[in-house]
């Protein structure tokens, strides 16, 4: 399956994400620079990588969300193409309005960089079809602005519609209701702060992240 990774100035997990996609799709993704206005033809999965796009100027993800390529990403998401935003990618997706809410400075003010336990809340989503609902997985986080926030009505709607797909088993950053990852209404856009692309091979300390990619690819091909 054809995939693409969007690269912004300051992205730093783009190559890790590319390796994860290459390993799991069997084909190297197209690396698409943020100044581009179109995605390559036939792309079925778009990755928005972690990092510090535009140096986190103004707000994390704010500048990247207004990059020319993001109009093409939004159009592809509308057509049902799968979009996976990790860490800064999650921040970009909320800033772009493709996911609700906002990611604020961690409540404890510290940059948090460690393995965390995540509960898979919902295995119905294409992104979590490689897991069992209720399962606990271990994936690392590395972020300063991962404190997910939305108004109570939005949070209730996300919960009620089964759109909170990953939750921290313990408080990590002050996120409302320990939310670690959410999907959009149509279920084809996922934003998550933890880094599944950093748990692809046994040498990474585990393969819990690989199952996200494998499950997703099986679900959408």
């Amino acid at each position: 399956m054809k995939s693409a990774v969007i690269v912004f100035p300051g992205s730093n997990c783009d190559r890790d994400l590319a390796v994860a996609l290459r390993e799991t799709t069997g084909e190297a993704p197209a690396m698409v620079w943020h100044r581009e206005t179109e995605l390559p033809d036939g792309v079925g999965l778009i990755g928005i990588p972690g990092g510090f796009s535009y140096g986190d100027y103004l707000r994390s993800g704010a500048m990247a969300a207004r990059s020319p390529i993001m109009r093409a990403v939004a159009a592809a998401a509308d057509r049902g193409v799968a979009v996976l935003g990790v860490c800064n990618g999650f921040q970009v997706l909320t800033e772009a309005g493709l996911l609700p809410g906002a990611l604020m400075r961690n409540a404890g003010l510290h940059f948090v960089c460690r393995d965390v336990a995540l509960t898979v809340e919902n295995s119905q989503s294409a992104f979590t079809s490689g897991y069992d609902a209720g399962e606990t997985i271990t994936v690392p986080v590395a972020h300063h602005d991962g404190n997910y926030n939305a108004d109570p009505d939005t949070l209730d709607r996300l919960e009620g519609e089964g759109r909170v797909v990953f939750r921290y088993a313990d408080d990590v950053n002050g996120s409302a209701r320990h939310i670690a990852g959410i999907v959009n209404e149509a279920g084809n856009v996922l934003g998550m702060m933890p880094h599944p692309e950093r748990r692809i091979e046994a040498a990474h300390g585990g393969t819990d992240g690989r199952r996200l990619f494998e499950g997703l690819i099986a679900a959408i091909t």
Partner: protein, 78 residues
């Protein structure tokens, strides 16, 4: 013509930076500081033709994230 845009967190949104500043002020011995909220000020140098509605659109589209932030626009005399 200049305009200043003040961007602040909405009431009720936790402001960890404000809290840290508050603690630091207390640590320096300043008493009577009841709360601290940190925000940002963005100064725009504008052509005279730019209307108030344009500045408001800039705030809504980029300068503020209205999910969590409020903004206030102040036009400065030339």
């Amino acid at each position: 013509m200049k305009a200043r845009v003040y961007v602040t967190l909405k009431n009720g949104v936790l402001d960890p930076q404000g809290k840290a500043i508050h603690r630091a002020l207390a640590g320096l011995g300043f008493t009577g500081v009841e709360d601290v909220r940190a925000g940002k000020m963005i100064e725009l140098d504008l052509a005279d033709s730019v209307a108030d509605a344009d500045i408001e659109a800039m705030c809504r589209k980029l300068l503020a994230n209205t999910v969590i932030e409020n903004f206030r626009i102040e036009r400065l005399a030339a």
